[in-house]
Amino acid sequence: MYTQMVEAVGEQNGETAQERHFQARIDAGQTIEAKDWMPEGYRKTLIRQISQHAHSEIVGQLPEANWITRAPTLRRKAILLAKVQDEAGHGLYLYGAAETLGVSRSQLVDDLLAGKAKYSSIFNYPTLTWADMGTIGWLVDGAAIMNQIPLCRCSYGPYARAMIRICKEESFHQRQGFEIMTILSQGTSEQRAMAQDALDRWWWPSLMMFGPPDAESPHTAQSKRWKIKLLTNDELRQRFVDQTAPQADYLRLKIPDPALRWNASAGHYDFGPIDWAEFYNVIKGNGPCNRDRMRARRTANDDGAWVRAAATEYAQKRKAERAA
């Protein structure tokens, strides 16, 4: 799924010759690889951006895992399982990409478990009905794809390559969600109401996934210059609204925004103001499920400790046997 709100670390003025050479490589469209020289700010910003993205994939398994045992059919259960397994895989690709920058996996995981690392605000909302599985696939994965496709062309090779793999797999996530929404919206009045209720609850948090407005995101310029962000938060958000509004029309569901309308002269949809106070509150840890998500991660880590210990022990034993 996805990352948000990473601010560039470092300054633009007083560049050294090495930094100018680095920037020239980026401007020429070259890819930066793990062992190439890079400014500390570039490295730190990437570590933060990629690890937040990795954490989001891992925590992002939880809202959907909530419905695996209650999926309405075996087909739906198999699809949901495959999707949640993909999220785990995406987390691993991204942790791997972050590690190429010199940070250890254990450090990254420890930061998440200690509550020091951020992950996408969207995963702190509860999944109350089956329609939430449809809405998450349709909107949340849709927003993630919108953000991730440009990142396939980002300047850092290992990150770009992880993004390409993820985008290939993410497309099924969005489609299975839209399929759930199509079936519910063509179903009984209760099913239609369930689909509408899910859209009502997930619409605004989905728009918040793109991060704060450009005016409040002062480091976007540096990240764009380094090509680790290719479009601004507001540009991506607008694209998402433009893409999604007609899909809601197809489903004959109503997006919960009275100000939403097609603006022919702008060639875009206009939409109403976002409640940023809610966004910052969730980011600070006060969303409906923040504590629950962290508790689930810590429990999973603790419960898996004996498995990791046994695997390490077994590997040692085998090594000793071979040596003997």
Binding site: K35, V109, A162, A311, T312
Partner: protein, 93 residues
């Protein structure tokens, strides 16, 4: 939490093609690394064979010495067939 060693994963996508680098993962030993690689990198039939190599065992060229290392090849354009003029009326060359 302690880190298991890092392994680089190479996958042969179909018979007849070479193994290609797919990514990396942590595992306590080679056997577990192959099992994990199956789940992490071949969930959609991406492979028919997996190699794992400990990252620590890979010795790589220095990116800072790229110029010196590859320059000798760059200046030898006559190694490419397009360097030579072939008369239009001559076939099968």
């Amino acid at each position: 939490m302690n880190d298991w060693p890092l392994w680089e994963v190479f996958i042969r996508s179909q018979n007849g093609l070479a193994h290609k680098h797919a990514g990396s993962l942590h595992a306590p030993d080679a056997e577990m690394a192959v099992k994990n690689a199956r789940d992490v990198y071949t969930r959609r039939n991406e492979g028919v064979s997996i190699w794992v190599v400990r990252s620590a065992d890979i010795y790589a060229s220095d990116p800072g010495e790229k110029e010196e290392l590859f320059e000798p090849a760059k200046s030898k354009v006559y190694r490419h067939p397009t360097f030579y003029k072939v008369p239009e009326e001559v076939k099968h060359l």
